[in-house]
C-alpha cells in the first residue's frame, strides 16, 4: 500500500468507542424493515387502524382504478406556432451568450434554450475568467420561481406600470422642489450603461445620493487598494503565475473578492516537470481554499492578524513586536522563507476585514515584486463603500432622509442594523424597492417595482477592466416586469428603452468600431488595449502595524463566511441550492455554528448520530452586543481553537417558500461590515436535526478510495510505490487484480466504435460543486427535501465525497518530534500531535456511477433493467425497472438512487417539479423518473448520442472536443475530462495512460470507465 493514512468522513468516526459509528461502519444497510413491529407483539396488528376488510377494499379499488385508467389513453394536444420564429426548431437547442451580475455573482455564461425557454447554464468558452459557479449554474431555476413578483405594486395594491411611474415621478418632482433628501441604494452593477443612466438620474434630481452597497462587503480591501495605488478598485490575481500562494483567511477558491480564481489556481496544481505550486492557508473556518491547501494553519482571527504581521516582519525586516509561541513562529518563518524564495511568483492575500491588514498584504506583494498581483486589470465586482452606508444608517436614525430607492439589494435582510432600517421604511413616505420577489425589503416598501430575472433582461457589465460583457434576454419576461434601468429612463422622461441606450452607449464608447452583433453573439467584448500597471504609493506602515496590534482578542471569535451553495442568500428560494450539500460539512438545508472539537467539549456542545446515520446536534446561544441567536452546532474538524464560524445567506423569512426558510441569519452579526466578531457562546440543551449526507452510504472500510502522495515521493519514487495496484495470488504468484488471468469475467471487445471514459483529477478538483448542480439541471434530478435527505434518500447522481485525513508530514510536527526529550514528554507530545481533528488534510472526490465494464449491478437485476452498452456506458432502462433495489445493494460505489416516492406532481414534495413554472426548467431530452424505479448517472448518454448524431448528420468523424458531459462541461478547473479512449488523439486516453491514473476500488475487479488521478500534495 502506498500510504497508511487513516481516512475519515466525520469527526465522530475518530472516537473508537462510539457504538453508532461502529455499527454504521459494519452495517452497509442502515434501514431495517419494520417487520419486528408486527411479528413481535400481538397487539400491534390489532391496533393497526387498517383492518383486513379495509385492506381488501383498498385492494379492490386500486385494481379497478388501475384497470380503468389503463383502458383509455389521454388525448394529447399538439399546438404548433402560428408563426414559427425563424431560429427556433422544436427539438433543437439554441445557445445565447449572456452574463450574470446580481451584485454578488458575476460571470459570463452560455444559456441553453429549448423551444424558447432557458434550461441550462453553460460555460462561455469565449471568456477566460468569470466562469459560473454552482449558484450561477442554479440561477436558471430561480427564474422559474412562481413566488416571484408578477407586477408592480403600490401600498400592496397591484397597479399598472404607467400608474406606478406617474405616481413615483410626481413624488420625485415634489421632493426635488422641496429639496428633500433621497438615497438611491443599489448593488454593485459594474455596468457602464447603467452607471450612465444613474448619473443622468442624479443630475436631474440633485437631491438624490447614490450609494453602492454590497451585502458582503469588500470595502476594506477597496480602501486599502486606494491608499496603496490611488484607485478605488480591486486588483486581479493571476494565480496561474503563482508558485507560492499564502492566504490569511482569504477564501479565493470560494467567494473572496468575488471569487472566480479557481481556473488560474488549478493550472499550477498538476505536477509538471516535477513542479507544482505550493499553497499555504492560514484561517479559522475550514474553507474551500483551506481544504485545497498544501499546508493549513488553523488560527483564530486575532492570531491571524499576528501571523500576518509576523510574515510582514520576516519579509520586510521591520520589527512589529509580535511575539508568538515557538511552533507557530517557526511555521510562519517557513512560510515567509518560501514566499521570499518564490519572489515574483509568490503572492500573499488576506480576507481579513481590516484596512490595515489589507494594506500590509499589498505591501508584502510589493516587497516580493509579485507578478501575480495584477494592477493592469482591475476587478470591478465589488464597489460598496462601508463608510457611506454607515453614514446612511446614521442619517436614517436621525430622520434626515425622506426617501429611499433600492435596487438589487435587500437591506432589511442583510443590514446588521436592519431594525433601524425597518423602522425608517415604515415611517418614511417615499420608499421604492426594485425586487424580483417579495423579500424582506420589498415587503416594507410602499412602491415595489417587479424586476425581471437576468435571463429576461438587457444589460452590460464590466467585470474586469477591459472585459466588457453583455446581458441579453433569453426569454420574454414571464411576468409584467420592467428592469431598473428601463424604469429610471421612464422617470427621466426618456422614450428610449434601455436596449436603445445600451446599444448606442456601446457603439459610441465601448466597441471602438467593432460589430455590436458580434459582441452580442460572443457575450463579451475584450478591449485589448494594453494598460499600464498602477504605481505603488510607498508609505510608512508603522501606524497600520500599531493599529493592527491594538485589536484585542477574545475567547470566542466568530468568522462569518458565504456558503458555497447560498452565497449572500439571494437565491434562498432555489431548491437545487438548498439541497446541495456544503462541500466541507456535507450538510444541506441548513447553516450552523462550526466549532472545534475541544471548544465544543468545553462549552458542552455536542454532535451525535441517530441510529440510521443522521446527524443531530444541540444549539448554542451566540451573543454579540446584546443580540442573541440560537444556532445549531456542527463540530468542524480543522476549526481553529477559540474560533467559531457561521455562514451568510440563510434565515430568509420573506419571499421564500416555508419549506425553504432554513437556517439563521448570519448578517445579524455582520456589524460594521466586519466578518470577524468577538462573541460569547452558551450551550442550549435542545435537539436539532441536520440533513447531513456525511455518514451516508459507508464504503465498508475498503481502502484505496483516495490515493494520494506527496510531491517529493511523486518525483523520486516509482509509481508502483504511490499508486499501488492490489495484487492477488495466482498459483502462488503475485498478479495484479486487473490482469485478465485472475478475472472471472470474459472481457468484451471494446476496440471498435466509441468507448467513453471520464477522468477526474483529484489535484485540481476544488470541491466547488458546480458539477453537482450542472448534473441536477441536465438530468432532471429531483429535489427530495430535508427530511428525506436526512434518511439518506438524496437523489444526487453526482456527489462530491469529502475525506479528512490526518496530516502526516507537517514540518511543524517534525520539529516538535525532534524536540522531544525523554519518554514522559514523548507520550504527551505524541498524544497532542495525534488529535487528528485539529488540523486534518482534506480530499475531495466526485463520485458518480463508475460505469463498470464488469458491473455488479447488471448481474443482479432480475429483469435486466440495467445493462451494458458497447460504448462503455452502463444503461438504466427506467421503464423496465421493477424496483427490487438489488442493483443498489450490490453497487460498491453507492451511486444508485431509488425513487422512494413520486417526486413530481406531488404536493408532499412541493419543489420545482410540483409547479407548472418550475417544470419549465426540465430537460426535454431526459425522462422524468417515476416512483419505484432506480436511477443513476447515465454518463450523459443524451449528450453523447447528440454528439454522435450531429456527426452522422454532417457525415464526419467525431472530434475529441465534441464529447460532452454535464459535469465535465461545468468544471472550470479542467479536473474532469470526458472523451473516447478509442480515439488515439484524445485527451482522455493520455490521462488513462498517465501514471497517476487509478480506478476506484480496483481490487473489486469492476473495471470502471471512470478513473481518478492520484492526489499529489506539495507538503
Amino acid at each position: 500500500m502506498g500510504n497508511h493514512k487513516k481516512y475519515w468522513k466525520s469527526e465522530l468516526e475518530l472516537s473508537s468507542d462510539n457504538p453508532i459509528v461502529n455499527d454504521l461502519k459494519n452495517n452497509e444497510f442502515v434501514n431495517e424493515l419494520p417487520a419486528d413491529a408486527f411479528q413481535n407483539s400481538e397487539n400491534s396488528l390489532e391496533d393497526s387502524s387498517t383492518n383486513r376488510r379495509d385492506f381488501l377494499k383498498y385492494l379492490g379499488f386500486t385494481t379497478a382504478a388501475a384497470t380503468l385508467a389503463s383502458c383509455e389513453g389521454p388525448v394529447n394536444r399538439s399546438i404548433p406556432y402560428v408563426v414559427q420564429p425563424e431560429q427556433i426548431i422544436p427539438g433543437i437547442s439554441n445557445f445565447y451568450a449572456t452574463s450574470i451580475s446580481d451584485g454578488f455573482d458575476f460571470a459570463n455564461v452560455l444559456v441553453k434554450t429549448r423551444e424558447g425557454r432557458p434550461i441550462k447554464i453553460e460555460l462561455n468558452k469565449e471568456s477566460n475568467d468569470n466562469t459560473p459557479n454552482a449558484r450561477v449554474q442554479a440561477s436558471v431555476l430561480s427564474m422559474y420561481d412562481s413566488s416571484r413578483l408578477q407586477g408592480p405594486t403600490m401600498d400592496g395594491q397591484d397597479v399598472s406600470w404607467d400608474q406606478f411611474n406617474l405616481n413615483v415621478r410626481a413624488q420625485l418632482d415634489a421632493m426635488k422642489a422641496s429639496n428633500k433628501k433621497i438615497v438611491l441604494l443599489t448593488q454593485t452593477f459594474a455596468s457602464p450603461s447603467t452607471e450612465l443612466i444613474i448619473k443622468k438620474f442624479t443630475k436631474k434630481y440633485p437631491n438624490i445620493e447614490h450609494i453602492i452597497y454590497d451585502a458582503i462587503s469588500d470595502s476594506k480591501a477597496l480602501d486599502a487598494f486606494e491608499v496603496s495605488y490611488g484607485v478605488r478598485a480591486l486588483p486581479t490575481y493571476d494565480f496561474e503565475k503563482a508558485s507560492v500562494i499564502v492566504s490569511v483567511s482569504g477564501d479565493f477558491l470560494g467567494d473572496w473578492q468575488g471569487g472566480g480564481f479557481s481556473k488560474g489556481y488549478a493550472k499550477n496544481r498538476v505536477p509538471k516537470n516535477g513542479k507544482m505550486s505550493k499553497h499555504y492557508q492560514i484561517e479559522a473556518n475550514m474553507s474551500l481554499s483551506g481544504a485545497n491547501a498544501d499546508v493549513r494553519l488553523p488560527l483564530k482571527p486575532s492570531l491571524q492578524i499576528k501571523a500576518l504581521l509576523k510574515i510582514y516582519e520576516n519579509i520586510s525586516g521591520e520589527n512589529t513586536g509580535v511575539t508568538l509561541e515557538d511552533k507557530l513562529d517557526s511555521n510562519l518563518k517557513t512560510i515567509s522563507d518560501s514566499l521570499i524564495a518564490a519572489g515574483s511568483s509568490g503572492v500573499f492575500i488576506t480576507g481579513l476585514d481590516d484596512v490595515n491588514a489589507q494594506i500590509i498584504a499589498l505591501r508584502i506583494n510589493q516587497l516580493i515584486k509579485s507578478k501575480v498581483l495584477n494592477t493592469k486589470k482591475l476587478n470591478y465586482t465589488r464597489q460598496g463603500d462601508d463608510n457611506k452606508v454607515a453614514n446612511f444608517i446614521n442619517e436614517l436614525s436621525n430622520n434626515k432622509i425622506d426617501g429611499i430607492i433600492m435596487a438589487g439589494v435587500n437591506p432589511s435582510y442583510t443590514f446588521s442594523e436592519n431594525k433601524i432600517l425597518n423602522k425608517a421604511l415604515e415611517s418614511i413616505d417615499f420608499t421604492v424597492s426594485f425586487s424580483m420577489n417579495n423579500n424582506e425589503t420589498a415587503k416594507l416598501s410602499k412602491w415595489v417595482a417587479a424586476t425581471p430575472h437576468y435571463l429576461e433582461s438587457w444589460g452590460d457589465v464590466e467585470i474586469k477592466s477591459g472585459n466588457y460583457s453583455l446581458v441579453q434576454p433569453t426569454i420574454k419576461p414571464l411576468f409584467d416586469t420592467l428592469q431598473f434601468q428601463d424604469v429610471l429612463l421612464k422617470w427621466l422622461g426618456s422614450t428610449n428603452s434601455f436596449y436603445d441606450e445600451l446599444k448606442s452607449n456601446w457603439n459610441i464608447s465601448i466597441l471602438n468600431g467593432s460589430s455590436w452583433n458580434q459582441a452580442l453573439h460572443d457575450g463579451i467584448y475584450l478591449n485589448k488595449k494594453s494598460r499600464k500597471s498602477l504605481i505603488y504609493i510607498n508609505k510608512d506602515l508603522s501606524k497600520n502595524v500599531k493599529n493592527l496590534l491594538s485589536s484585542g482578542a477574545n475567547d470566542y471569535e466568530l468568522t462569518l463566511y458565504p456558503k458555497t451553495s447560498m452565497g449572500d442568500g439571494q437565491q434562498a428560494n432555489n431548491p437545487w441550492l438548498q439541497e446541495m450539500p456544503d462541500p466541507i460539512s456535507r450538510v444541506s438545508w441548513d447553516n450552523y455554528l462550526t466549532v472545534s472539537k475541544s471548544d465544543a467539549k468545553d462549552l458542552g456542545l455536542r454532535n451525535s448520530n441517530d441510529s440510521n446515520g443522521a446527524l443531530d446536534s444541540n444549539y448554542a446561544n451566540v451573543s454579540l452586543n446584546g443580540k442573541t441567536i440560537k444556532i445549531p452546532v456542527l463540530i468542524q474538524p480543522g476549526q481553529a481553537k477559540g474560533s467559531v464560524g457561521l455562514s451568510f445567506g440563510y434565515g430568509r423569512t420573506s419571499g421564500v417558500k416555508t419549506e425553504l426558510q432554513t437556517g439563521v441569519n448570519g448578517f445579524e452579526f455582520y456589524e460594521k461590515f466586519n466578518n470577524t466578531q468577538k462573541v460569547s457562546i452558551q450551550a442550549v440543551d435542545e435537539n436539532h436535526e441536520f440533513a447531513c449526507v456525511q455518514l451516508h452510504n459507508t464504503l465498508m472500510g475498503r481502502g484505496d478510495i483516495i490515493k494520494e502522495t506527496t510531491l517529493e515521493i511523486f518525483n523520486t519514487k516509482k509509481s508502483s510505490e504511490w499508486n499501488y495496484m492490489t495484487q492477488v495470488s495466482l498459483n502462488h504468484i503475485e498478479t495484479p487484480v486487473t490482469s485478465p488471468d485472475v478475472d472471472i469475467w470474459d472481457e468484451f471487445d471494446r476496440s471498435v466504435g466509441h468507448h467513453f471514459n471520464l477522468s477526474i483529477d483529484l489535484n485540481t478538483c476544488t470541491g466547488c460543486g458546480a458539477c453537482v448542480i450542472a448534473c441536477h439541471a441536465e438530468n432532471n434530478v429531483p429535489v427530495v427535501g430535508k427530511s428525506e435527505v436526512r434518511k439518506s434518500r438524496d437523489m444526487h447522481w453526482l456527489r462530491i465525497d469529502r475525506y479528512y485525513s490526518s496530516a502526516e508530514t507537517f514540518s511543524g510536527d517534525n520539529i516538535t518530534k525532534d524536540n522531544i526529550s525523554g519518554l514522559g514528554d514523548s507520550l504527551s507530545v505524541f498524544g497532542q500531535m495525534e488529535d487528528p481533528s485539529e488540523n486534518p488534510q482534506v480530499a475531495f472526490q466526485p463520485v458518480m456511477c463508475q460505469h463498470c465494464n464488469h458491473a455488479p449491478c447488471e448481474t443482479v437485476c432480475p429483469v435486466a433493467a440495467t445493462s451494458h452498452g458497447r460504448q462503455g456506458q452502463n444503461h438504466m432502462a427506467y421503464n423496465r425497472c421493477v424496483g427490487t433495489r438489488y442493483c443498489a445493494n450490490n453497487c460498491p460505489y453507492k451511486v444508485r438512487r431509488f425513487n422512494w416516492f413520486l417526486y413530481n406532481n406531488n404536493n408532499e414534495f412541493d419543489f420545482n417539479m410540483n409547479d407548472d413554472l418550475g417544470k419549465m426548467v426540465l430537460n426535454p431530452d431526459v425522462v422524468v423518473r417515476s416512483r419505484g424505479v432506480m436511477e443513476k448517472c447515465s454518463m450523459c448518454i443524451q449528450m453523447t448520442q447528440k454528439t454522435i448524431l450531429d456527426a452522422k448528420l454532417e457525415g464526419r468523424e467525431v472530434k475529441d472536443e465534441d464529447w460532452n458531459c454535464a459535469c465535465s462541461n461545468a468544471c472550470d478547473t479542467g479536473a474532469m475530462v470526458f472523451g473516447d479512449i478509442n480515439d488515439e488523439e484524445s485527451e482522455v486516453l493520455k490521462l488513462k495512460k498517465d501514471e497517476r491514473m487509478y480506478h476506484l476500488l480496483e481490487s473489486v475487479g469492476t473495471k470502471p470507465n471512470v478513473m481518478y488521478q492520484v492526489k499529489v500534495r506539495n507538503t
Partner: protein, 450 residues
C-alpha cells in the same frame, strides 16, 4: 408476487411482437381493399377536349397562358392580389385591355381614368407588364376567363365514377343481409314447429321424459369423471388466459387511432393529389428529433393564394368542395387572415391538433436519425399517408415493432464518413458485408431509453 408478474409480462412482451406484426399486416390489407380507387382529372379532361376552329380564341391555350402568367395574382371568381377576372372583357374595351396588360404602368402614367381608378383601388400596386403577350394571346386568355363550363356533364361523370366503384361492396351487403333474413326466418320456423309439435304431444298425453333423464345422466357422468373436469378446467383457464393476454397486450397500443382533428386536414389532397413532399411542411424531421407539426405560416405559403378547394369530391362522406373550402376558412381564422383585404389582422388562435403518434416519455426517438441519416421513407412507419383522408396511426409503435426493423435493416453507410471506419472494422468482426443496425448496437437499452 409482483416480481413474478413482471417476469411473465416481459416474456409476453417478447412473444407479442410476432402477433402484432401479423395483425398489422392483416389490418393494412383490409384497409387497402376499402379505399376506393380515385377518378382523377376526369373533370378537366372532359372540359377541354372541344374541337374549336382556328379563328375562334382557343380556350385551352388561354387556360395555360392564364395559369402561367395571371394565376399568381388573379382568380376567376375572387379578389386576390388583383381583381377577379371572370367576365372582365365585358367590363372594359378590348383595346384598353390590350394596352393595360402589355404595360399597365404606362397607362396609369398617361392619366387614363379607368387605369388610375384600378391603381388606387388595389393599394397603388401596379400590375406587372406583359409585353411578351400578343393580342391573340390576350384574346385566348379572355376567352378562358369568359368561358362558363357546363356543370351538368361534370356531376354526371363524378356520379357514375363513384357509383361503379362502390357497386361490388353494395351487392355484398345485400347478399349478406338476405342471408341473415333467411337464417332468422329458418330459426323462427324451427322454433314454431317444435313448439306446435310439443303442444300436440302434450295434448295427446305423451311426455318426453326419456330425453331429459338422458341429458341429466350425461351431466352427472361429467361430474363423476374427475379427469374430464380437470382437463376442461385447464382448458377453460388456458383459453381465458389467452383472451386476457390478448386484451392486455393491446392496452396502450393505439394502432389505427384516428382522432377527429380541429381542422379536417386531408393528407390525401396535399400529399397525394398535389404531391407535396412530406418534409416541405414537416421540415424539422430532417434536423430535429421532432418531425414537427408545421406552423400555420407554412400553410399560408400556399393558402394565401388557394382560398377554395377545386379538386376531387367524395359526396358520400360529405367531402364536398364547400366542405373543404370551409376548412380553409378555419385556417384563415386561426392564422388571422382577412380575405377581403388580403392582409393579416394579427388576431391569431393556435390550432389545437390532436396528437396521433404518442410515444411514451421514456422512449427517445429522433426523426433526423431515421430520415436524414438512415434515409428511411416516412411511409415506412407512417404508412400510405398520401392516401389518408384522415390521418391515423399506421404502425403499432410497440418496442417489438422498433426492434424488428432494427434487426432487419442495414446501416446506410454510403457517403457518410462517420461510419467509414467503424463499419469496416465491425463488419470484419462479424464477418458480414453489410451491418445491421442491431450489430451496430441499435438494440442496446440505453440507445432509446434515457
Amino acid at each position: 408476487m409482483l416480481y413474478f408478474c413482471a417476469l411473465i409480462l416481459i416474456q409476453f412482451k417478447q412473444l407479442s411482437v410476432v402477433r402484432i406484426t401479423t395483425l398489422s399486416k392483416l389490418f393494412s390489407r383490409l384497409l387497402k381493399s376499402f379505399v376506393s380507387p380515385l377518378a382523377l382529372n376526369l373533370f378537366f379532361a372532359l372540359l377541354f377536349t372541344f374541337n374549336i376552329s382556328a379563328q375562334e380564341p382557343d380556350i385551352a391555350k388561354g387556360k395555360s397562358l392564364y395559369n402561367a402568367n395571371c394565376a399568381a395574382c388573379h382568380k376567376l371568381n375572387k379578389k386576390l392580389i388583383g381583381p377577379a377576372l371572370k367576365g372582365v372583357s365585358a367590363k372594359y374595351e378590348k383595346e384598353w385591355l390590350y394596352s393595360w396588360i402589355k404595360n399597365s404602368a404606362a397607362l396609369i402614367k398617361s392619366g387614363d381614368e379607368q387605369a388610375v381608378a384600378i391603381y388606387e383601388e388595389y393599394n397603388k400596386v401596379a400590375m406587372n407588364a406583359f409585353p411578351q403577350l400578343s393580342n391573340e394571346d390576350i384574346d385566348n386568355i379572355l376567352a378562358y376567363t369568359d368561358y362558363v363550363p357546363e356543370p351538368v356533364a361534370a356531376t354526371a361523370t363524378v356520379a357514375t365514377a363513384s357509383g361503379s366503384s362502390d357497386s361490388s361492396s353494395i351487392t355484398n351487403d345485400i347478399v349478406l343481409g338476405l342471408l341473415v333474413v333467411v337464417l332468422t326466418v329458418l330459426i323462427v320456423t324451427l322454433y314454431l314447429v317444435t313448439k306446435t309439435l310439443r303442444n300436440i304431444a302434450e295434448k295427446n298425453g305423451i311426455k318426453a321424459q326419456v330425453k331429459e333423464s338422458q341429458s341429466f345422466s350425461i351431466w352427472r357422468a361429467f361430474i363423476k369423471n374427475q379427469f374430464l373436469i380437470f382437463t376442461s378446467v385447464i382448458l377453460l383457464l388456458l383459453s381465458s388466459a389467452y383472451f386476457a393476454y390478448g386484451y392486455m397486450m393491446q392496452i396502450g397500443v393505439d394502432q389505427g387511432y384516428m382522432p377527429v382533428q380541429p381542422i379536417h386536414y386531408s393528407h390525401k389532397i396535399h400529399s397525394g393529389a398535389n404531391q407535396i413532399e412530406c418534409q416541405y411542411c414537416h421540415s424539422s424531421a430532417r434536423v430535429s428529433k421532432h418531425s414537427g407539426i408545421p406552423s400555420l405560416n407554412v400553410c399560408m405559403n400556399c393558402h394565401e393564394n388557394i382560398a377554395e378547394y377545386n379538386g376531387e369530391e367524395d359526396l358520400e362522406k360529405g367531402y364536398t368542395k364547400d366542405f373543404y373550402t370551409n376548412e380553409i376558412k378555419k385556417l384563415y381564422k386561426a392564422v388571422g387572415w382577412d380575405e377581403e383585404t388580403q392582409s393579416y389582422t394579427g388576431e391569431t388562435e393556435p390550432v389545437k391538433w390532436v396528437r396521433i403518434h404518442n410515444l411514451p416519455d421514456f422512449v427517445y426517438f429522433n426523426h433526423s436519425q431515421h430520415v436524414s441519416v438512415a434515409g428511411v421513407d416516412c411511409q415506412k412507419c407512417h404508412g400510405p399517408v398520401e392516401e389518408m383522408e384522415i390521418l391515423y396511426q399506421y404502425s403499432s409503435l410497440t418496442m417489438g415493432w422498433c426492434i424488428d426493423c432494427h434487426r432487419e435493416s442495414n446501416i446506410k453507410v454510403k457517403d457518410n464518413e462517420y461510419y467509414t471506419k467503424v463499419h469496416e472494422e465491425l463488419s470484419k468482426k462479424y464477418g458480414v458485408e453489410e451491418l445491421s443496425i442491431a450489430q451496430m448496437g441499435g438494440l442496446e437499452c440505453g440507445k432509446c431509453h434515457y
